[in-house]
Symmetry: C2
Subunit: 216 residues, 2 copies
């Protein structure tokens, strides 16, 4: 009988014997932090990149370099894009008369992905919060008022999250907009209490948009 | 009653009204091709990158640039890494006497991820195939023979996929190695017929390794 090699006895290879160079391990770890990818999928993704770098890694790399070099916050609406004004603000086909106000860029993306709102957006960049000390002047409310003041907007849709703070923010904005000749509405049925827009499916978003009600 | 805006009637925003600049759409599309990410997760991943570019996009970008700039195929074993010889070939703690032969780099990674084999590897870069016209001289068999010829190797584990072509390749290599004083074994129980190593879980791989049998 041959003597069993160590690995035949069920001894595991120590964790610090990495299979690839530190550079590749760094890439695995960096990709593993992406939402939707864990350490296992990140490793598989990196292997995929290494196998055909010309057709897989190069396109990601150059797209990411482009984005990274040109990333800006839109000075009109607060969206993030590689140009200012952003794609949405500079698209003449969009309805300038409807303005949808959201807390975060992720909410804008969630709504826009649903393809249900062909108007423009305004990103507050947060929500009022006594707990976190976020006051009206800390988020983009004055800028919103200025946009409405300039005229041309018929309706403002308040699309805050259905959280206490989101709703308090909506009410505060509704009060500040009271004196302007705009219809005010807010997303209603379909948003689960405590739910965050960013995680809703399209159907729920559609229902919330269609059944929105005027602010009392 | 107020006149309904177009988007209240359930009219969808046309597909060509993109929400972000072409550069960002390019990045979404490039990432969507990664295994484990679809178009939806890719969009969420990009949004995550855009929100905190300094702590998310920059590390991926610099890790990927490093990897892309230094990517090489190991001249000893055929593994892909950012240095030559690769991390595995240049690690003195690994057992030089055991050599595991695999078809592809992805198989090497799958086996090494299981942490069950502390030896060295040899990547063939394919498998013999009459159908695809892949002959012995088209894959890294001569190089494998040279490594064995040089001596110092006690055992060669043939870890081909359990496909017809994989097994034909294993048999061919076994014949070529017959005259050398090495123990030859191959993965056995646990590989589903037609299965590919790269997709097996660790437990199955462990069983296949532990119950490997001598080549007749
Ligand atoms: Zn904008
Ligand atoms: Zn190597």
């Amino acid at each position: 009988m041959c003597k069993a090699a160590p690995w035949q006895t069920g001894v595991y290879v120590p964790k610090d014997w990495t299979m690839a160079s530190q550079e590749i391990e760094n890439l695995v770890q960096a990709l593993a932090r992406l939402p939707g990818l864990g350490p296992r999928s990140a490793r598989r993704a990196v292997l995929y990149l290494l196998k055909r770098p010309e057709t897989t890694m190069k396109p990601i790399l150059s797209a990411m370099e482009q984005v990274e070099a040109n990333l800006v916050t839109c000075t009109i609406c607060g969206n993030v894009d590689t140009k200012d004004p952003c794609q949405i603000c500079s698209d003449p086909r969009r309805d300038e008369k409807s303005l949808c106000v959201v807390e975060e860029v992720s909410d804008l993306w969630a709504l826009d992905k649903s393809r249900l709102f062909p108007g423009k957006f305004h990103v507050l960049g947060g929500k009022l919060s006594a707990l976190d000390g976020v006051r009206p002047e800390d988020i983009s409310i004055d800028k919103l008022l200025k946009r409405v003041e300039q005229g041309g907007i018929d309706e403002v849709v308040l699309a805050m999250n259905a959280t206490l703070e989101g709703q308090a923010t909506a009410h505060y904005i509704a009060e500040r907009l009271e004196s302007f000749p705009v219809r005010l509405s807010q997303l209603s049925h379909g948003i689960p209490v405590g739910g965050e827009l960013d995680y809703l499916d399209e159907g729920t978003l559609a229902q919330a948009l269609r059944s929105r009600r005027p602010v009392e």
